[in-house]
Amino acid sequence: MSDTATAHDHILAELQAICREVFESPDLTISESTTAEDVPHWDSLNHLNVVAAAEQRFAIRFRTSEIEGLKNVGDFVSLVAAKRKR
C-alpha cells in the first residue's frame, strides 16, 4: 500500500470518529463516496461542527473557498491530506 493510501485511510478513520461524535451515532460508517445526504442530521449547523472539529483535530485551517466545493467525504479527505502535506 502506498503512503498516500495509508494517509487517506488514517484521515478517513479520524473523520469517521468525528462524525460518530457529531451525529451521535456510534456505529456510523463512512466511505469516500459518502455525501451529506447519506447521513441523517448532516445539516448546515452540523456541517460547521464537523469542519470545526476537523480543523482542531488535524491542526489545519480551511480556506473560505474550500469548504463550499466539497462534494463528498472523499473530497474532504483529499483536502485534509493536501493541507497536511504542506
Binding site: 470518529a17 468525528i18 461524535e21 457529531v22 451521535e24 456510534p26 448546515s44 449547523l45 460547521l48 461542527n49 470545526a52 472539529a53 480543523e55 482542531q56 485551517r61 480551511f62 480556506r63 473560505t64 469548504i67 463550499e68
Partner: protein, 631 residues
C-alpha cells in the same frame, strides 16, 4: 483553541459522553451531563454534552432546588452555534437555562413587533449580541470628534430605547454584550488619535455602551474586554465570518458560553461567595511546620517569594470586594497563628480571615465544618490547593465545591482565579466590601455569646437597632441579591429579578421592607426582606409572599422585631390579619416552624405550602431587645 483552563481535564471525554448516553434512566444521564460539564471541553464535546442534557431534560426533572430560567438571544450574526455553550456553562453553574435565538438579524423586530414570538416565550433574560457590522454607520475618516460623538450618542440612545422596550414588554432583565472589535487598524499605533477610524469607533462605542448599561441597570457581558485578554485573533476568524456569519470563532465558543452563563448565574444569586485556601505551597512556599516561620518562601527577595506575595495581594483584593476568606490546611494551628502574626511579609491579615480549619482532619470534613461555621452552602465555596491529590479528593467528595485546576507555578494562580469567573458580580456596593468584615465580627459575637450565660442579657448588651424603611432606589440591587441568594432562612424561596422587585416597590398595594441591623460591633447591612401583598381571596388580609433573612443574624430576636414592623404597617393599611406561607425547599427546613414560633395559628395547606394566620386584633407585640426605627 481557547481552553477553559480552570476546569480539570478529563482523560477521555468523547468516550465518557458516549458511555453517558447509554445510562439507563434520563435522571442518570442528566446527572452525568452535569458532571461532565465541569471538565475542560472543546466545542464538539460541549455540543454533545448539551445534546445529552437537553434530551434528558425532556424526560427528567432538573435536580432538586435548582433554578430554571429562560434566555432569549438577539443579534445580527449566527447565534445558534453559541447556544449549546451557554447552556452547558450554565449547567456547570447549577442553573438550567432554556435558550432560544431570534431569527438571524431580527433584533429590533423581535423586540418592537407587537406579534413578536418572543413575547410568548416570556424570557427572564434578553441578551443583545450586536456585532461590529450591525452598529454605527460608516463615517469618513476625516469626521471630527464631535461628529463621531454625535453618531455614537444616537446609536446608544436607540439601544437604550430597545432596552426599555425589552424590559417593559417582556419583564425581562436585559443583558448587553460589548461589540467584539473585529475591525483592523488602518493607522497602527496612531489609531486612537483618529476618532473616525473604524476600529477606534468601536472602542469609543463600547465605552459609551458600558456607561449606558450601568446607568440603565442593564447587565453587561464584556465580550471585547475578554477577547482583548486572549487576543482578538483567537476570538474572531474572518473565514468563519464570511462562510457562516459566525462572529465568535469555533475555538472560542465554549469560553463565550461561560462568559454569558456566569453573568446570568450571578443575577440568579449563584456566584460563589467564599474562597477557601490551603497554606503550605499555596499562600507561601515551603512547609511552615518543617521549615519554620523564618524558613518559608514569602515576600521580597526572591522571585518565588514575590509570586506568593502577589497571590496574597490578589486574594486580599478579593476580600476587599466582599469575598469571604477561610483557611483549610493540614497543619499545626499554633504555628500557623504565629506565622500570621509574626511573619513580616505576610500580606493577608489573620483578622481578614473569617474562619479557619487548621488541623490534621481530611479536607472534605473540614470544608463541611467551615460551611457550618460560616452559615454558607458548600456550593458557594471555591477551594484553592496546590496539591493535585487534595484537589481530586475534594472534587470527588464534594462535587458542589469549585476546585480550580492550578498550574505548578503560583505566579499563574491569580490569572486562573480571575479567568474562572467564580465571583462574577452584577454590581458592586459598599455593603459587598463590608461583608467579609461582617463574617469576622460575627465570629466575635459568637465568642461573646459563649461567654455570656444569660441570653436576654447578651442580646441587650449587643445594643441592636433595626432600620425598616420602604426601599429607595439604591437598595434595590442589594434587596434583589438577598432574595436570590438566601436559601436557608427563606419561607417561600421565590426568586425575583431587579425588575420584579422594582415593580413591587412601586405598587402601592404591596408592602416591601428591607431591614438593616446595626449593633455595637458594626453594621450588619441589609439582613432581611419581607414582601406582603393583598390576599387574593380575603379582603383586608395581607399575604406574606416573601420573608427571608440572612443566617448571620439568627438567634438574635430579629424575626420578632420584623414581625412588629410588618404588623404595624398592616394595621396602618387597615388590614385585620396576616397570612404567612411556608413553602418547603431542600434547604429551608430551619424555618418550618417560623410562623408557629411567632404566634401564628395553622390555616391549612395548599399544594406543598402550609399557611398560617395571625389576627392583628389579638396580637400582642413581643418585647424584644432591639430598637426599631421604621417609617
Amino acid at each position: 483553541m481557547l481552553a477553559l483552563d480552570w476546569l480539570p481535564p478529563h482523560p477521555g471525554l468523547p468516550t465518557a459522553i458516549t458511555a453517558a448516553r447509554a445510562l439507563p434512566t434520563p435522571a442518570e444521564r442528566l446527572a452525568e451531563a452535569i458532571r461532565l460539564a465541569g471538565f475542560q471541553r472543546d466545542g464538539l464535546a460541549t455540543t454533545r454534552i448539551d445534546r445529552l442534557a437537553q434530551e434528558s431534560l425532556a424526560e427528567a426533572a432538573p435536580p432538586e432546588g435548582w433554578q430554571r430560567r429562560r434566555l432569549a438571544l438577539l443579534g445580527s450574526s449566527t447565534l445558534d452555534t453559541l447556544i449549546p455553550a451557554i447552556r452547558v456553562a450554565a449547567l456547570a453553574r447549577r442553573l438550567i437555562l432554556d435558550v432560544n435565538a431570534a431569527p438571524y438579524g431580527q433584533l429590533r423586530q423581535a423586540i418592537l413587533d407587537p406579534d413578536s414570538p418572543l413575547a410568548e416565550t416570556k424570557p427572564d433574560f434578553v441578551l443583545l449580541a450586536l456585532d461590529a457590522n450591525a452598529v454605527l454607520p460608516a463615517l469618513p475618516l476625516t469626521a471630527s470628534r464631535a461628529e463621531v460623538e454625535a453618531v455614537i450618542q444616537a446609536e446608544t440612545d436607540a439601544l437604550v430605547t430597545l432596552w426599555r422596550e425589552a424590559r417593559q414588554r417582556f419583564g425581562a432583565m436585559v443583558i448587553q454584550q460589548t461589540v467584539l472589535n473585529t475591525r483592523l487598524t488602518l493607522f497602527g499605533a496612531a489609531e486612537a488619535s483618529v476618532p473616525a477610524s473604524p476600529a477606534a469607533l468601536i472602542d469609543s462605542f463600547n465605552r459609551r455602551l458600558a456607561e449606558a448599561a450601568t446607568a440603565n441597570n442593564v447587565l453587561l457581558v464584556d465580550l471585547d474586554g475578554a477577547a482583548a485578554q486572549a487576543g482578538r485573533a483567537q476570538w474572531h476568524d474572518p473565514v468563519r465570518w464570511h462562510q457562516a456569519k459566525q462572529v465568535v470563532a469555533p475555538g472560542a465558543t465554549a469560553l463565550y458560553g461561560d462568559l454569558v452563563a456566569r453573568v446570568v448565574a450571578a443575577c440568579c444569586g449563584l456566584s460563589r461567595k467564599c474562597l477557601v485556601l490551603d497554606l503550605d505551597n499555596t499562600l507561601w512556599g515551603g512547609v511552615v511546620g518543617d521549615d519554620g516561620i523564618d524558613g518559608i518562601v514569602l515576600g521580597q527577595g526572591s522571585a518565588a517569594g514575590e509570586a506568593y506575595l502577589a497571590f496574597q495581594r490578589y486574594v486580599g483584593a478579593l476580600a476587599e470586594r466582599g469575598i469571604v476568606l477561610a483557611l483549610c490546611s493540614k497543619n499545626d494551628g499554633d504555628i500557623v497563628e504565629q506565622c500570621f502574626s509574626r511573619h513580616p511579609e505576610m500580606h493577608l491579615k489573620r483578622e481578614r480571615i473569617a474562619a479557619a480549619a487548621v488541623n490534621w482532619t481530611d479536607k472534605a470534613t473540614n470544608l463541611r465544618q467551615l460551611a457550618a461555621t460560616l452559615d454558607l452552602g458548600l456550593e458557594s465555596f471555591v477551594f484553592v490547593d496546590d496539591n493535585p491529590a487534595e484537589r481530586d479528593i475534594v472534587r470527588r467528595e464534594l462535587p458542589m465545591v469549585a476546585v480550580p485546576e492550578l498550574p505548578e507555578d503560583v505566579a499563574l494562580y491569580p490569572a486562573i482565579l480571575a479567568a474562572a469567573g467564580y465571583f462574577e458580580s452584577v454590581a458592586f456596593t459598599a455593603e459587598d466590601s463590608a461583608r467579609s468584615r461582617q463574617y469576622t465580627e460575627n465570629a466575635q459575637r459568637k465568642e461573646l455569646l459563649a461567654a455570656a450565660t444569660d441570653m436576654e442579657g447578651f442580646l441587650r448588651s449587643l445594643d441592636m437597632r433595626l432600620d425598616a424603611k420602604p426601599p429607595a432606589n439604591g437598595d434595590l440591587s442589594r434587596i434583589t441579591q438577598l432574595i436570590n441568594k438566601s436559601n436557608q432562612f427563606n419561607l417561600t424561596t421565590r426568586r425575583y429579578t431587579a425588575e420584579e422587585v422594582a415593580r413591587a416597590v412601586n405598587d402601592p398595594n404591596v408592602v416591601v421592607r428591607g431591614f438593616r441591623l446595626t449593633d455595637k460591633f458594626g453594621d450588619n447591612g441589609l439582613i432581611a426582606v419581607i414582601i406582603a401583598r393583598p390576599h387574593q381571596q380575603e379582603a383586608e388580609v395581607l399575604a406574606v409572599d416573601t420573608w427571608l433573612m440572612s443566617c448571620r443574624v439568627l438567634g438574635r430576636g430579629v424575626e420578632a422585631a420584623c414581625l412588629k414592623v410588618l404588623a404595624q404597617e398592616a394595621a396602618r393599611r387597615g388590614a385585620k390579619a396576616l397570612i404567612g406561607e411556608y413553602r418547603p425547599s431542600p434547604r429551608n427546613g430551619m424555618v418550618r416552624d417560623h410562623y408557629k414560633k411567632l404566634g401564628f395559628a395553622p390555616a391549612g395547606n395548599g399544594g406543598e405550602s402550609s399557611y398560617w394566620r395571625l389576627d392583628l386584633d389579638s396580637f400582642t407585640e413581643p418585647d424584644c431587645p432591639i430598637r426599631i426605627n421604621a417609617t
